[in-house]
Symmetry: C2
């Protein structure tokens, strides 16, 4: 039986659009995505676990009222601290980005020395370290909070001297020591891939959780018989498919103007059907 509900994609703001894009590529075109960006309260990554859990429950309840059949937690911080609370609160499957990202890192590494970069909250939670230990108990994991990467990405300074210097400051000392894999544990970081790669040096594979998460979502839906029909699916949209589909909907909690502008940069396409909502209503 195919459920008729859409798939909720929940992020603290704009960054989750990288996950949205990966989902759009991985899922049949007939699958409907409902994106919620809590732009009125972004960022989550500098806030306490209690506050992040509260915001996560409020956002998931809003998406639940829209009859979603699955929830993708696109925000690393929320995935790191709120997935257990969300799973207790809702009957639909919930997929965060930490597990899929960690699994890919474990497949990729040869040296078993893995770096993880993210917000202060994500790194403090040690969620990646625990998830990696499930697959590779003897891996050595170094976490590093990089709070300036998010504002740099939002400013569009992703490839200038400032970005390069910040990346060197945060990551320069990870060079050597056998590190061969670095998890980009925040949805904004793929935009800074270039300078991050330069800072850690050649031979380090950067892992972006977005693709891995999209694949897990597809498999999970298929297992449960929840995936929309493949007919006229991804193949028909070409390998570069990623822009919003016809049935997709975007909700934000702060004025849509900035989301529309910055969002189209993330998405590489205009953001259609965008609606301002009060999450508490």
């Amino acid at each position: 039986m195919i459920a008729t509900g859409g798939i909720g994609v929940f992020d603290s703001g704009i960054g989750g659009l990288t996950v949205f894009k990966a989902l759009r590529r991985a899922l049949p075109a007939s699958e409907r995505l409902i994106y919620l960006g809590d732009t009125a309260r972004v960022p989550y990554g500098t806030k306490s676990d209690e506050t992040v859990v509260r915001y996560a429950l409020e956002g998931a309840a809003f998406l639940g009222r829209h009859g979603i059949k699955a929830l993708v937690v696109a925000c690393n911080t929320m995935s790191a601290v709120a997935v257990p609370a969300l799973t207790r609160a809702h009957p639909f499957p919930i997929v965060g980005v930490i597990g899929p990202g960690a699994e890919v890192a474990c497949h990729v590494t040869r040296s078993r020395v893995i770096g993880v970069i993210g917000t202060a909250a994500t790194i403090k939670s040690q969620a990646y370290t625990r998830a990696i230990a499930c697959h590779l108990p003897d891996a050595r994991v170094t976490g590093r909070a990089c709070p300036l990467f998010v504002p740099l990405a939002e400013e569009g300074w992703v490839d200038n001297d400032v970005a390069r210097l910040v990346a060197r400051e945060y990551l320069g000392d990870l060079r050597g020591g056998g590190l061969d894999t670095l998890v980009l544990g925040c949805t904004h970081y793929p935009l800074l891939k270039q300078v991050i790669g330069e800072a850690v040096g050649d031979g380090v594979t950067l892992v972006d959780s977005a693709e891995a998460t999209a694949a897990v979502v597809r498999d999970r839906l298929r297992e449960r018989g929840l995936l929309a029909p493949e007919g006229g699916g991804t193949a028909g949209r070409g390998a570069d498919a990623g822009p919003p589909g016809d049935g997709d909907h975007f909700f934000v909690t702060d004025s849509s103007e900035r989301f529309r502008e910055v969002g189209s940069r993330f998405l590489g396409a205009p953001v259609a059907r965008l609606e301002l909502i009060d999450i508490a209503e």
Copy 2:
């Protein structure tokens, strides 16, 4: 008649502590300050006017329920967009930081070429430009949004190569052209005074609204007969007085841990009597 209520000091987060400190220096020791930092929803400066006004009204209502006799809006963004709405909603005097800062800039400038730096929302509002025009209609005002300064200050990177490069990137082209005065239109920016000064060059006076605002608050309270008795007042606390007084109280909307840590850096003293609240209650 002396009112018994305290003075509310409202900021989006931690930065308003620079205004708190200036008030503590300018006011009698017996004056009680009640600080509210909306740390669960910080920052305001990247958000829309509608959202900032809504948050401002909620925070002021909370402080109003604590029986304050006056409200100091320590946040530049809130001062720029929400003071009219706050004034309509409350009977007590409300003082923002824009007017006092603009007035000082007009006193200081000789060339009548004034720069203003602040968050995206503050600069977009043109509130400083309008306030300066009231005093110096022929002044030439250049506004510049500097979104990375806040995360830099919160990261504690105020005097390193990154801070210097960011300041040069934002402000380098303000050199020359006759600019002799620069308003630091965000409470975080005084922490970056050194690198901002280097970027704009010698001979440019940096105006910090905190001191000017504190003086206006003192005068306004005195005019209305609302100032606490001077006996054992500021003089007794020495010129460096600034740490919290015995009756002061701090409220935050996100967990107090980070506020306590970063706040003591802003305040140069431990943050006592700190309480976590839900602003909507």
